[in-house]
């Protein structure tokens, strides 16, 4: 085995602390039953952030409109449950399918131009969906949203209870499965080409990586994952509204990912935990103005340096030139 193969294998190995972390996560709804709903939300946001990490952290596509896929997943699941069949897993599959198709279509728009162009195009894409969901009110309920989405018991056995414990286990399981798949993906040779594209697109092209098709594939996959996250939200809260498409969703998930660290799948998970706990605490103190503190946090984060903020012991050292 060559040295490069060894190093790739080593980075893909599962660390001992990882199963412990997941066990803790699954224990949380049991140990703290009153916070099961929060655990559920964290799992959903984490999944959404993992999806963004695939495109932003691993491939370097700056997207301000990732909520497009989250939202389409949420609406698909909600509509399906309301009008056709309320089986949760079927809803997940449908949401993943629709979001993937949409992602494949949208991936055509991110090929050209600079960061700015991509920001604009992705942002515009999400806004178009927001407008559609707003205007097609016979289907989506318009500004009032789709209410009263009631799901069948999971696997025909586990009822979704008010405390949200089933929901928490459900979301955690989906998160774990997709996380493992994403992890498999980024540690594959395919994932290595993504990182090559992120680091230097020209060089990646020069060594024969088909950049355009790689971008299309990863964007599509990430869209599917984001769609599943949206579906989880709609199914476990029984509600889908325009809020799922809005700009602050895209901005929040970017913040989540950056807080935790992009280009490292656990970054999304860690960020989701920090962000949700912070939101929970801050909105308990100042219900209306908690965005101010989020904003301040972002500004400080960038000014202090994203890496350095997480390592306070480096604050007094001089930055490397």
């Amino acid at each position: 085995m060559s040295a490069s193969q060894t190093s790739l294998r080593r980075s893909a190995r599962i660390r001992p602390w990882e199963p412990v972390l997941w066990l803790l996560a699954f224990a949380a709804p049991v140990v703290l039953p009153s916070h099961a709903a929060l655990v559920n939300e964290i799992a959903i946001v984490a999944l959404f952030a993992v999806s963004l990490d695939l495109v932003l952290g691993y491939t370097g596509i700056v997207s301000l409109g990732h909520a497009a896929f989250f939202g389409i997943g949420a609406y698909t699941a909600a509509l399906l449950a309301k009008h056709v069949n309320a089986d949760p897993l079927l809803g997940l599959a449908a949401a993943a399918g629709v979001a993937t198709l949409l992602g494949a279509a949208a991936s055509l728009t991110i090929m050209r131009g600079s960061d700015l162009t991509r920001l604009m195009v992705t942002l515009g894409f999400a806004l178009i969906l927001l407008e559609l969901a707003n205007k097609l009110d016979w289907l989506t309920g318009g500004a009032d949203g789709l209410q009263g989405v009631v799901m069948n018991p999971l696997l025909g056995r586990f009822e979704f209870d008010l405390g949200g414990r089933t929901a928490a286990f459900y979301s955690l399981t989906v998160l774990l499965v997709l996380f493992l798949l994403a992890r498999r993906l980024v540690h594959s040779p395919f994932g290595a080409t993504l990182k090559a594209i992120r680091d230097n697109r020209l060089r990646a092209m020069a060594i024969g990586i088909p950049v355009r098709s790689r971008l299309a594939v990863i964007y599509t996959v990430a869209a599917g994952v984001a769609g599943i996250a949206g579906a989880l939200l709609a199914q476990t809260t029984g509600f889908a509204s325009l809020d799922v498409f809005e700009f602050h969703r895209s901005a929040d998930v970017m913040l989540v990912l950056v807080v935790g660290g992009a280009g490292w799948l656990y970054g999304g998970v860690a960020g989701a935990i920090v962000f949700k706990l912070m939101q929970d605490a801050l909105s308990a103190v100042t219900p209306q103005y908690w965005t101010f503190w989020i904003g301040l946090f972002l500004v400080v984060l960038v000014l202090a340096g994203r890496e350095r903020l997480l390592r306070p012991w480096t604050w007094w050292k001089r930055a490397r030139p």
């Binding site: 515009g124 178009i128 103005y289 500004v299 000014l303």
Partner: protein, 291 residues
């Protein structure tokens, strides 16, 4: 029909005033500043508060809005923005979103979330109609006023950029910062004043636009996409690019909302995406310029 065209032009002109400062920071200085709308909001609130609380006349409020926003821009440029010029775009995006969130929450806290109303002076309230039937041209006096100010500003800006010493310094600093510094241009001062001027224009735009666009604390978020479209579609090599883009956007938006109200802002966004896929660097871009 002509009325719609006229309103579209007025709206586009307004967007141009609001966005031209962003065209400079984003296009020329290569800084993705999503917080531009916050400066516009500051200008708008300066006007509204001065008029409501201190009875300052409207015309006097406009320069004050410009000055206030420019001052704020200068302070922020010196303290917060400057360290970020060389940082990756992602950092700039996060930073400016953070500023927007702070501005929205702060104005919500201090002024309240209700929409503010500007009392225009009587001579701006009227409306003139020319012609009849389908070709009626109805011109609100206030919209005429906006068009006049914007035309004057455009000519002035073009003159400053193309003909004055400051303009050539700015262009030099933008094209190559190091060489410009080597030629004895104080790049920091050039950028500082440019940023402040751009923020001031945003403030002026916010003051003018408060009547047309509505002013509440969500203003920076609501119109962010419009400023960005103007800049991204217009390209940033000249004043005319954003101007034409703003006019196109204004007319498309007003006409779309009038003729197909069901579609709403859908048209504008689709138009933008199509244009950006077709010409990723913007519609009007200088050949051989920096990518």
């Amino acid at each position: 029909m002509l009325t719609i065209l006229f309103d579209g032009i007025a709206y586009g002109m307004l967007l141009f005033i609001l966005a031209v400062g962003l065209a400079v920071t984003m296009g020329l200085m290569n800084f993705i500043n999503l917080a531009h709308g916050a400066f516009a909001m500051v200008g708008g609130y300066i006007t509204v508060l001065l008029m409501q609380r201190l009875d300052v006349p409207f015309l006097l409020c406009l320069p004050l809005a410009f000055a206030g926003a420019a001052l704020l821009g200068a302070v922020l440029e010196r303290t917060l923005y400057r360290p970020l010029y060389g940082k990756p775009h992602l950092d700039q995006v996060l930073f400016s979103i953070g500023l927007v969130f702070m501005a929205v929450a702060a104005f919500d806290y201090f002024v309240g979330s209700t929409q503010q109303i500007v009392q225009l002076p009587a001579w701006l309230k009227g409306r003139t109609e020319i012609g009849s039937g389908a070709w009626t041209l109805g011109m609100g006096h206030y919209r005429l006023f906006i068009i006049a100010i914007c035309a004057a500003l455009t000519v002035g800006l073009q003159f400053i950029l193309a003909r004055t010493r400051f303009g050539s310094r700015l262009r030099a600093s933008v094209d190559d910062q190091r060489v410009a510094a080597g030629m004895g241009i104080n790049v920091n001062v050039v950028f500082l004043s440019t940023f402040a001027f751009g923020s001031g224009l945003a403030g002026l735009g916010g003051a003018l636009g408060a009547e047309v666009l509505g002013l509440d604390p969500s203003f920076p978020l609501k119109f962010m996409i419009y400023f960005l479209i103007v800049v991204a579609v217009g390209g940033t090599s000249s004043i005319t690019g954003p101007l034409l883009a703003a006019l196109l956007l204004g007319i498309a938006d007003v006409a779309g909302k009038y003729y197909i109200p069901k579609m709403g802002a859908f048209i504008v966004y689709s138009l933008m995406i199509v244009i950006l896929i077709w010409r990723p660097q913007g519609l009007f871009v200088r050949r051989g310029g920096r990518a």
